[in-house]
Symmetry: C2
Subunit: 152 residues, 2 copies
């Protein structure tokens, strides 16, 4: 499992401001929700949490802010194997990429960092002469708790 990401409160805000983006009340709220999330959130969950902080945040502003963060490479978009329908989930772009494992039975999402993954990315860049900007490795299957034992 990855180590807990070093807390850097206000980091997203600082990044956007350094790139000349205006910092509105709504953006500050949405950024703080994304930044302090303990698990992967979709747009509706982000909206709900943002509205707890300020009831006047609009759904459209959430989408527009998420797109802004995506364009700047500050967050990653996940599908989590479409276990929850077609929602997208978001997380701050980590310093080191990790793999998402989605349990098809209990729905639990686990994360995993791996040197092999880092090496695989290097191989892709070299062998395919492909300059990687973003990766997404999602795995669906059964976690240790849900693992179906061979017919016994």
């Amino acid at each position: 499992m990855p180590l807990p990401q070093t807390e850097q409160p206000g980091r997203l805000q600082a990044e956007l401001m350094s790139r000349g983006m205006r910092m509105t009340r709504q953006r500050r709220i949405i950024l703080s929700v994304v930044e302090t999330a303990k698990q992967h959130l979709d747009a509706s969950q982000i909206l709900r949490k943002a509205r707890k902080l300020d009831a006047k945040v609009d759904r459209v502003t959430v989408y527009r802010t998420l797109n802004l963060l995506k364009r700047h490479g500050l967050i990653d978009e996940l599908d989590l194997m479409h276990l929850q329908g077609e929602k997208h989930f978001y997380e701050r772009r980590p310093q080191r990429d990790h793999i998402h494992m989605a349990c098809l039975r209990c729905g639990k999402i686990a994360e995993f960092e791996s040197n092999l993954f880092d090496r695989l990315k290097g191989e892709i860049q070299r062998e395919c002469r492909f300059h990687i900007v973003v990766t997404r490795l999602e795995v669906g299957g059964y976690c240790a708790d849900c693992r179906v034992m061979p017919a016994s």
Copy 2:
């Protein structure tokens, strides 16, 4: 790049029939479209191609057939990094998993098989005690042709 998948016409149909699914005129057509596709198709493209073979295929039947194939693990669903919006793309599940690389500039999709990827999957199964059913590794970036050279 993966070797061209050994042609196995009617393989999907045979698989479904062996599992007790009924083989209707519509299914046969949709399966043949999926099976003979030269590139990754989304639901609308599959519908269009199916209708060239038989104008009476309904969009809903395409979705229901794709879901059937997914449930049986006979096709894989791809997002291709959402370069084309939120469409899903489909391909017959290959004998050996491969990586999809999507160029953010020209949109080209390349595929890549790798021993490191196979080893990574093995590592995930062992280290995380996670039984893998399906994987999706998508990479966004710049292909050799579109690669932006360092400021020169």
